[in-house]
């Protein structure tokens, strides 16, 4: 399932196009913000708010062929694979691809838009890589779990809810990856949680989503 998922992502024109478009947007915004005092604004608005969730959505859609995750693993099940392991492999592979690509995009955005008040460039890029990768893993796992319902349309709905609730700073926002990624990049807090706690919430979202995928795909 790992090789098949990588093939699906690599061969998806929609995923390639989406990644290119969001990369271009983030880099362009970083270039424009180059002479400012900080890259935080660019990272929060263009990278965390748009590029990260929407590029991850396109990766998950490519990995699941735009369908329900059970339908996406069915070819491997019919070759003799176990649906639970196939779904877990699909989700983990997508998480890994999203983490590498979007972590790298975050790091590039931070490096290009680096401002005078930001931490040293290398440290800033590494920190942004970490936050981008963690955010991408949480989003990819959450969107994979959303693919358990219906034909996959719930993925977009989850992103809308994430956009609406995650833009705040209250308890509703504390359940959404968007708020925590923004908090980690901007140094603000969600529901008075520390940066470390925000990181753990992102990990918890990913683990809970993976558990849902594993439990629900016992049969396919």
């Amino acid at each position: 399932m790992i090789g098949l998922t990588l093939l699906r992502i690599a061969r998806s024109r929609a995923a390639r196009g989406s990644l290119l478009a969001w990369t271009a947007l983030s880099i362009a915004a970083a270039v424009l913000a180059r002479h400012g005092t900080s890259s935080t604004g660019v990272l929060v608005t263009s990278f965390a708010s748009l590029a990260l969730p929407l590029a991850t959505l396109s990766l998950v859609s490519a990995a699941t062929c735009g369908a329900n995750i059970r339908a996406a693993v069915r070819p491997v099940v019919e070759l003799g694979g176990h649906p639970r392991f196939a779904a877990l492999a699909l989700t983990l592979t997508t998480c890994a691809v999203a983490a590498i690509l979007l972590g790298a995009l975050g790091a590039a955005t931070a490096a290009i838009g680096h401002g005078a008040t930001d931490p040293p460039p290398l440290r800033d890029a590494l920190l942004t890589f970490g936050v981008g990768a963690l955010g991408a893993i949480a989003y990819a796992a959450l969107l994979a779990a959303s693919s358990l319902v219906g034909r996959g349309a719930l993925r977009a709905l989850v992103l809308v809810v994430d956009f609406v609730l995650g833009s705040g700073s209250g308890l509703g926002a504390a359940c959404m990856p968007r708020a925590h990624v923004r908090a980690l990049l901007a140094g603000a807090s969600v529901a008075d949680l520390s940066a470390r706690a925000s990181s753990w919430v992102l990990v918890a979202i990913a683990v809970a989503s993976l558990a849902a995928v594993v439990v629900v795909t016992r049969r396919a």
Partner: protein
Amino acid sequence: MIEIASISAVGHGVGGARDRGLASRPARLHDVRLSVDAGSVTAIVGTESDGTSLLLTIAAGRARPSRGVVRVAGAPPGRARRSIAHVPAAPSLPLELTVARALRQSAALRREPLRDPIERLAQLSIEHLAPARIESLDPAERRSVAMALAVTSHAEVLLLDEPFQHLTAPAAARLPTLLRARAAEGAAVLVATASAAEAHRVADRTFALRRGALALLESSAAAVVRIVLRDVAESEATASARFIQALAAAGSARVISSRGTTVTVEGDSLDALATAVTAALDAGAVNPHLIEIVDSKDAAHEALAPSGELG
């Protein structure tokens, strides 16, 4: 090998009409009991709405009955997945892979020794498809590949939904022999088909599944079967003559009429007739386009016939 003990269920079979985007009502199974031994081919005659696809899906561990128990090789089917090869009516294949890679991947997932994919595909005369990407194949080729993946695997249990539908002509001609060979090696083969003629062509035992209820299909009564031979390069007369000659050698079937590629034969029992026709098709090296039961006094077959689903 497969023990189905009093199962009842409501739902859709994997790869059925709903998965093909068609509107369909869920099928129902009522207190179905069935035992399929190792080394045997069992056929269930019925349609998807009668519950055939749902029954195979449950036997494969891909759906759960609301009541009753299914055991495959002594374990719940979910724990015997590597031993089970299930080909639904509309199989899902990894479209991104080549046929050869899908065969290798399947062998790895089933923990079988790696064999030459071309040799495996040659058993259904589709070895030329090995380097092709599955997404580039036409529906008949894809289904033949799905059948090759299952039938040439080392799986101890084969669950095949409409195995003769939409196959390439050579694959359809070779499949009955291959299924019997797999049974002879010790596999338990369960076939679901809407065609009683196809069922009798391959199966040791045939059951009828009608609106979720299962009954043994006795086939000891006299029957008349019409065979339409597939167009061949040689003249129609030569192909028909060779088939009739082979049929005469088989002994238990009498030719009533022969016109062009259509040959109508009668026999003392549907079982004997199916055996004779299958042997004659193999011996005469001719492919059937259609085999239909024109007349049978078989009580179970007549119970099925009014639905218009059988010949």
